[in-house]
Symmetry: D2
Subunit: 361 residues, 4 copies
């Protein structure tokens, strides 16, 4: 009962890695918005495996169909159902492991929770589940762009121990990000990241990384006091992405080491209204957007599936050596970029619609 | 519409800083559970201001009343309403500032969102709002303790630039935590934290910090796949606490710099079932608890209200100098400890009840 | 977990008949709306017992306090908490019956559901629970009146076997309704109803009745397709009121016996747009308001508590004779009128706010 | 945002009449339950048009596919997605009417709500939408049958002015119901209903009717106090079905005319516990099931689409004569039987899972 996200702009997803396909219902998208499959496909293409030698070699086409809710290129205000069939199914790769819960995977916990789990692959914990997030997120993004000119750009700001430098949150664009196959907009850092990923791949090991994200042109007033603060729902959204271990907004963990006099963002006149000098708040104060750029960072652990042999236990508790044979990414963060963007869009679209209720039509 | 948290064990809160009081309705607490006001009061006492010279000197009694849902010391299964009257109201302190949005406070964003805001103090962004979280959380904690022996312990693991060392996540207790007024269980670190806080206080400035939290005896199977993963709802819960800027679980941001072969938690036989050797996962895999201790960290920014003069702008955009006169904490993290515990309890109680539905009675 | 109603204009209620009081949190009421306790009190006064010899003689003052969410007579956009203390508590009346589940009451089902129940009176099944509905409904009604000029008027259209005639749905007003103590706007019918109620009272018996309700100036477009149709949520709202057994909108059950050619409401030009000639639809088509007056009827069973001896069984299954001693209404429908109005207002306010999200601000 | 129903056993639906198909995601179905497409197909076959000369002659195959959530014939505990492609699309039939809102249809209200509507057919107000209800309901029914032996049987108890007599709520079965093409288990009444329907068809007119439904072996304790009473959610569920105008449970509207002493259901010993003598309550007291058979009735208006010419107005307000050419049912109630059953199953499955939370595992 948890494959649903959003209160007004609401998404329900479905699909395991080896069933007929994965998909989403977007319920609550306003009517009369132009929407085509191409709007969605471009983000799916950024997510799909097999884009470069830095990701898994598994090829997946991942073509989206709009099943409902759109007629003659316009949304009807009714649920928009999206579907991506599963094509490249090789349950054989996983068969051998079925008696052994893979370390730091979801095999064990699904078994404990449900008393059953998908025999092959990760079921709902599979990376394919994120297709539905990206597809639904692309609809949300279209809505935000069309109505508010909102821009959401994520990039790889760390891969393993390599940090990216010099990214300007006010100007960084998807074009810049996509110039490197590792999706780091800083060219020298990108090259170092590529090397780090290839080294991990050769060592049959994996590395993690950090994805940063900015949301520009966010109007003030988004986010709801108390439990559904803008940063709280962003945190939920990001920590719901597989393999994430941390979230920070604005000054983040580093901010906890500063003095209040350094950390505060004083107000200054900007245009007709107020803006802040500095943005340690990350665009959010008291849980509500203040009109400045929202920015946050998401930590991803190293991929759990590795080629190196691992000493672990099978479901009966017997010690075994596990060697993964399935195709897998040595580093997931380049492909995580559109997932982070998609989830950010879902959060913001929902808050935009929640805020509208405040205003008299 | 966002003062509600939890799907089954559900809490709705209310109250501004200067209205008649603050409170919560806990809807979904199972019946026949022993519950008294004393169960709740002890956590409220740990949250209240004026406990030591390391927090604000403002005295608040914060006595809770159970208005409904309990009869002869037992819950009825019906909504448990909790109320704490506001006593120490000094709107005068805030009056002068009403035309000036305080930097890094919620004055500006509330005004932008609602077109109105509470004239005195922070309204729903006031620290008093957290009383309702702590009160409701104490009910949740009682439920978890009575039914599962669950233990939730939070502590201050950093204050400003002082880090705490040597805390054993398997044994740390509230008694140990409360031995120091700054709620750091490591005595030497505690002393250094006290000094850091007093220095900030003398300088009319403020510092931030980090609260760590462990949840022990969490049964496997809690947390729901996809959007309501255990870590995702913990992240939402923590980032919904005022002044938080970051959340990390298990290995967190540091984990993103490790290799998969280092980071993975291999399985070993434990008792009748499986456990993990190491716990970089923080007790959660694929969004579901695995039976190991859940642990996470929450970053708090330095308190926004400081005595130092700040150059900022009023609502009209005129440059002004703001000097806060209200009583305020130089460092909020010692008092945040029971808030973090309360929110963790609310998350876990809800997941326990959501998981029960899976089982045949 | 079900003391909550509404998605955007959302209400959570609490309180048993013999705890400290009953109340509600209204979360989602738009900001800057004038609101005083007097706005709410007037509907509570219409609901309270002891108004006339046609209802219970039990006197209850039922004074409402606004605990939060309003400052200087204006809503802040934050949760509005409402509280009515319980005063006249006479658990003694109920004591004797505690081992005997009252026929057609909730004693038995609460015990089966929770394994516990409030020792005295009906707990959440008590009539006092409806205080919270009326109080919250008055806030919703204020919002609808201020913003849309909406008018909601309910009346008693049948008491026992006495039907009311001649009520004009386009003009009937609360003033007309309140001219009779049984709240029937048709004077002759009202007199017959009074006699029917007094006869039942003298016979230590009870009767039921029907409450009709109209909502005028409902803008077109309210109600959501599929599961949350306007009539569907009205039906839920009405069947959630204690003692109700049926709901019908527009032509209702009688409409099922008509031909399509008789039943259809053809369109005609009205003002700038369209209206319908006839209103068998009851103001709703496809689950969405069409701009015509919404009207519906709600059936109430006879009050279950009667003075006549009843042969029944105690919890152990032993045959017993039950004679109720508590004070009770011989007919509940006159006091149900403001409850029906309140629930209708809660449904409409929520749909108004849900519809706003469709529009660009 | 309203194509979702149920809190724990939750369904989201999608699909217009002339898009690629209609479907549903069932989120919250417990794991390890046997489920095949055949389980679902049998109810879809009872709903589909073209079954007899008493319904529309339009043929639709309506084959369901399970897209996810089931492996090797067992549910995984993950979302079960169901899809039925649209095949027989003849938008031409509707083309001509597109400038004229059909009387008592949803054309006008959808246009007012969304500013757009599906060009052909009724969009989400189309009868095809109910396919998703029936499919999801069949999953719920399987769950209730497997776990509780619950039986849900609906039948046509009135068609136009013909009432059915002599149906025994304790024994009536689907086999009996399906012996007549009009789904009335009383043979003589069935014949009269057939005649009434054919007369309406010949007259190019339509009639309405009433569907009755019983749910047997419902355990006590289902339904939640206050707003989500069992009868309240049943009422919502039934009034959300297209063309419904009324709902009554147990004694219903007729009960409002009785005396309390006649209406009350006294308790008697039954097996180990208590039951009631008589069942005017319809199996529900205080909103919670009492272990007796739940029964209720649903009123359907006559089909709005008729062949007779109708004087009405186009969207511009010009008077026009409308003659429907599309294929349509002269009476919808025989095909509504599985829809009513499906919605009842969805309500009960959700309450079963909501009640489980009360019990310690």
């Amino acid at each position: 009962m948890s494959s649903k996200f959003g209160k007004i702009f609401s998404v329900s997803t479905f699909g395991e890695s080896h069933c007929r396909g994965v998909g989403a219902i977007v319920d609550g998208c306003p009517p009369r918005m132009p929407l085509t499959e191409a709007d969605i496909q471009k983000q799916l293409d950024r997510r799909k495996p097999g884009q470069s030698r830095f990701s898994t070699e598994r090829k997946e086409e991942d073509r989206v169909s709009i099943l409902s809710g759109v007629e003659k290129g316009l949304t009807l205000g009714t649920p928009v159902a999206l579907f991506v069939p599963n094509k490249d199914q090789r349950p054989g790769d996983y068969q051998k492991m079925s008696g052994i819960p893979r370390p730091s995977h979801a095999d064990y916990t699904y078994q404990m929770k449900y008393g059953i789990r998908a025999a092959s692959g990760g079921g709902r914990a599979s990376a394919r589940e994120s297709i539905a997030r990206v597809a639904a997120g692309a609809v949300a993004e279209k809505f935000l762009k069309e109505n508010y000119g909102m821009e959401i750009v994520a990039w790889v700001s760390a891969a393993g121990s390599v940090d990216a430098y010099g990214t300007d949150t006010e100007t960084v664009s998807r074009e810049q990000v996509d110039q490197s196959p590792v999706r780091c907009p800083h060219p020298e850092s990108a090259v170092q990241m590529e090397q780090a990923i290839l080294r991990a791949k050769e060592a049959k090991d994996s590395i993690g990384g950090i994805v940063s994200c900015v949301c520009r042109n966010v109007p003030p007033g988004l986010g709801e006091p108390v439990f559904d603060k803008l940063e709280a729902k962003l945190a939920q959204a990001m920590l719901s992405i597989p393999a994430t271990k941390g979230f920070e907004i604005g000054s983040g963990f580093a901010g906890s080491r500063m003095y209040g006099s350094e950390h505060n963002d004083p107000f200054v006149r900007k245009g007709d209204g107020l803006g802040t000098k500095g943005n340690r708040s990350g665009g959010v104060q008291g849980g509500i957007s203040n009109g400045e750029t929202v920015f946050f960072r998401v930590a991803f652990k190293p991929v759990a599936t590795i080629g190196l042999p691992q000493k672990t236990a099978d479901f009966e508790g017997n010690e075994v050596i596990l060697e993964a044979k399935g195709r897998h990414d040595p580093c997931v963060v380049p492909r995580a970029v559109p997932i982070v963007e998609g989830m950010a869009a879902l959060v913001l679209a929902d808050f935009v619609l929640r805020q509208r209720r405040m205003m008299k039509p």
